[in-house]
Amino acid sequence: MPVVRLEYRNVTMRFAKTGGRGVLTAVRDVSFSIADGEVVSLIGPSGCGKSTLLNIGSGLAAPSDGAAFVDGAVVAGPNSQVAFMLQKDLLLPWRTVAENVMFGVEIQGVALPERRRRAQALLANFNLADFSDHYPHQLSGGMRQRVALARTLAVDPHVLLLDEPFSAVDAQTRMVLQRDLARTLKQAGKTALLITHDLAEAVTLSDRVLVMSARPGTIVEEIDIDMPQREDPIARRHDARANEYVARLMDRLDIGHTALEPARGEA
């Protein structure tokens, strides 16, 4: 039985509706677990509560019912085993690239020589060593997102929570970043929960894909991605089975029958 790193057990999240009475159920009775070293993607329609699950996992929000567990312990608040990364790079403009990478470890009180060592190692790994003294505004979008990934890895978390990390970069850069992420996750043996709208991204990066329903979001299907080379999403894109999985996910999400279709027809 593999070690479970991250688990959601009967998680329900309700919010008070803004501006009026009533309760909005964002997520309903979600249960799943992710084993050590596993990469799982979460897909579903907009507003189905994917990001809510991420906030619960990182301890930034407490669920209304149920609980999230990291390494078997209930998540009661932010903890150093979990680190997250968003679509926005959230780099601090007054810090150099290296200082941005050190942001998390600095907060956690890691000594300066060790912080420097980790930052330099990560930046070298992402081919950013020459840019360690640059400021974020001097970098391209793809490089900034790499720095954000390095910052996430610098705290050496067991679990990475990634919320559409590459959706703001262009398609070609995205493929390179996906490859970098996949390699890094494999090499370091990290566990990751990846929220994405990009079905090909979900298929090529993950061991498993969870499909969520519209609000109130709940998990309606779990698909094992039975393909080799999880560390090389570009190779997986060449694999015919990837297209089959994407097609299956499209069917499951009912893409083609949603409200977007007429808008696309007009364009």
Partner: protein, 265 residues
Amino acid sequence: MNGTARSAPMRKGAAASFALLVVFLAAWQWGPGLLGIPSFIVPPLSMVADEFVHAWQVSHLLLHTGVTVGEVLAGFVIGSLLGAVIGYLLGMSPTAEFALSPYILALQIAPKVAFAPLFILWMGFTVYPKILVAILIVFFPVMVNVLTAVRAVDPDLINLARAFKATRAQIFWKVEFPTSMPPMFAGLRIGSTLAVVGVVVGELVGGNRGLGYLLTFGEGQANTPLVFVSIVMLTVVGGIAYLAVILLERRVLHYLPARTVGGNF
């Protein structure tokens, strides 16, 4: 980046600027005579220059300038510190801001210089009422800018810090405080020129020291050149204060792309 493309218009601009200065000074020197304006209305440049030397030697111009500079400096430093501290406190406590905002708004609308006579009644013909007017007038632009900046910090940035288990103090010093720097400097720039206004109004109302006093003294003597000398010196003091803030801003905000910092100086 494209340094040559930008430096050519800058060189042209500087040359035009200098030419304009020469034209202005020439017009000041010979214009009044040509237009038949008497020298007690608009004294020509040379007369003002003579009066400058006279004021320096006889009327303690340096002393008066020094007093004004001291008051401006004290008022500006205390006013901006108070503005920043209150701005951060209100920015972090929406309840306090909600409770205090009508009073802050009222005080902001009230013309601060109108308090000058009151402060002189309270504190006499000393430097303190002048400093107090400057504090009051500098306070608001700094406070409002800091408050708005703290409110506008990206909540995801705060969440990022929280996810790394940052304490409240760490969130403030590592995220909120640096984020508020550019707007705060915008407030300080405004404050630096307003501080001079506050001090001068205080000196005009009462006292026997400072450039504002020298100005009223010149007026009483019908010494128009002395009035001009005082105005020129006040402009120099304000200009140096503004420039000092710009230089500090450039040092502190060195990480920003060059053209977004500190106006055109």
